[in-house]
């Protein structure tokens, strides 16, 4: 406990990095996954292709992806992009399936009604189909957020820190406190982000509670 109080500055800094490294990929992943998920909900071929590619990418272990990227992209080994890109890939891989399924499950008569009252395709997508898919997307985002937050720590192995730095600092000198603090901090951050996403999801979909 005294260790924590003595290192509040360090912990705040690591929290900032950890949040940055896990949430930037979440946002990037969402932005990329929405058009891809839309494509997958439109064509059987696109769906099959996108889902096989994303499940293949999801299979590749994080550490392997993190250390291979510098070779492919020409980034330096301690470039934060080496963590941000793999986590973005995992987020997209997780979200494409749920977005495609959510968009496919929007009832056809709802889409037809929107078309009938004059919505053009883009506006119909933004105003009707996408909002109806929000609950499923939020569920996918929560899984992706928790898994990103836990995976960021692996980056510490190549010197890109977040809470993972507490593991790579504590382990060589056998300092258990530091490692335990790192694990607890990761869990708390995951809980907070998860709760925040749940709340955002509720605020965005007031109609899901209107009938109750």
């Amino acid at each position: 406990m005294t260790w924590v109080l003595d290192h509040l500055g360090l912990l705040a800094e690591l929290t900032g990095t950890h949040v940055y490294l896990s949430l930037v990929p979440l946002v990037l992943g969402l932005v990329l996954a929405v058009p891809l998920g839309w494509l997958a909900s439109r064509s059987r071929f696109a769906r099959a292709t996108l889902l096989s590619v994303s499940s293949l990418l999801y299979t590749i272990p994080s550490l392997a992806l993190i250390v291979i990227l510098p070779g492919i992209l020409g980034t330096r080994i301690i470039d934060p992009l080496n963590v941000i890109i793999p986590l973005t890939i995992y987020t997209v891989a997780l979200l494409v399936r749920s977005i495609a399924d959510a968009l496919s499950s929007v009832p056809a008569n709802v889409v037809a009604a929107a078309t009938a009252i004059g919505y053009r395709p883009l506006r119909r997508f933004l105003g009707v189909e996408f909002p109806l898919a929000v609950p499923v997307i939020v569920a996918g985002l929560r899984v992706a957020a928790v898994s990103n937050i836990s995976l960021v720590s692996v980056g510490a192995l190549i010197g890109i820190s977040g809470y993972g730095a507490l593991f790579t600092d504590g382990f060589p000198i056998g300092f258990m406190t530091e490692v335990v603090v790192g694990v607890l901090a990761t869990l708390v951050l995951a809980l907070v982000v998860d709760a925040a996403l749940l709340l955002i999801g509720r605020l965005l979909t007031p109609w899901t509670r209107a009938g109750r």
């Binding site: 299979t59 272990p61 550490l63 392997a64 992806l65 291979i68 694990v183």
Partner: protein
């Protein structure tokens, strides 16, 4: 030298394919850790998930625990286990088991809960005892989800076993960490590539096994539901 020739250069060197730190030995080590951890995880997670799924008691606790464990940073868990129990294969495998149990348990539980109550009632109606209902009706019907859980546990273990080289385990992660230590990027990237290929192969093996294990009667019903 560009990346591909870097990889080809390292992987085509015969010296990297022989001896106690050659690729075949490392692959076997990696598979050994994976199989052992997965078996132990199934022995622990499957009965727990099946029991909770069958009785319906403690489901919320189980799902909550499984979700909470997913947030655990693998590197932190391995570090703690090894700091507590000392460097060695057994503590590292204990860490891998800890991370593999939740998906197995959650998959088994979800699978058994998802079996149609009508089917379970019918099994009781024809006079099956409770354990027989579980073993002959619920588990076979839940097999796709149970297998899904084991499959994601397997991928988790293959990935985490790589990270576990940091706390002294052998296997393919050794190339990554030994290579990083001496700044031999060809070794790091080649090791990572072999791990990636191994993970994909393990996943394909599981897809194949799933076809063998899941009753053919379940397949059409499931795809019918998905397209509806």
């Amino acid at each position: 030298m560009d990346f591909v020739s870097l990889l080809i250069g390292w992987l085509s060197d015969a010296a990297h394919w022989a001896g106690s730190d050659g690729v075949p030995v490392r692959v076997l080590e990696h598979l050994e850790y994976t199989v052992i951890s997965l078996l132990i995880a199934v022995v622990i997670g499957f009965p727990l998930g099946a029991l909770v799924g069958h009785t319906g008691r403690g489901g919320l606790l189980l799902v909550g625990a499984a979700n909470g464990l997913r947030a655990l940073p693998t590197l932190g868990v391995l570090t703690i286990v090894v700091l507590l129990a000392g460097i060695g294969v057994v503590p590292a495998i204990a860490g891998l088991v800890l991370l593999a149990v939740p998906p197995v348990m959650a998959g088994t539980y979800a699978g058994i809960r998802a079996v149609e109550p009508i089917i379970v009632d019918a099994a009781r109606g024809v006079g099956m005892r409770e354990w027989k209902v579980l073993a002959s009706v619920e588990v076979p019907n839940a097999m796709p989800l149970i297998f899904g859980g084991v499959r994601s546990a397997a991928l988790q273990v293959v990935a985490t076993a790589t990270v576990a080289a940091y706390v002294g385990l052998g296997g393919l992660g050794r190339y990554v960490f030994d290579g990083l230590a001496i700044r031999d990027y060809a070794q790091v990237a080649s090791g990572a590539l072999v791990v990636a290929v191994l993970a994909v192969v393990v996943d394909l093996v599981f897809i194949g096994l799933q076809r063998l294990v899941v009753s053919p009667g379940l397949a059409p019903a499931k795809s019918g539901k998905a397209s509806a």
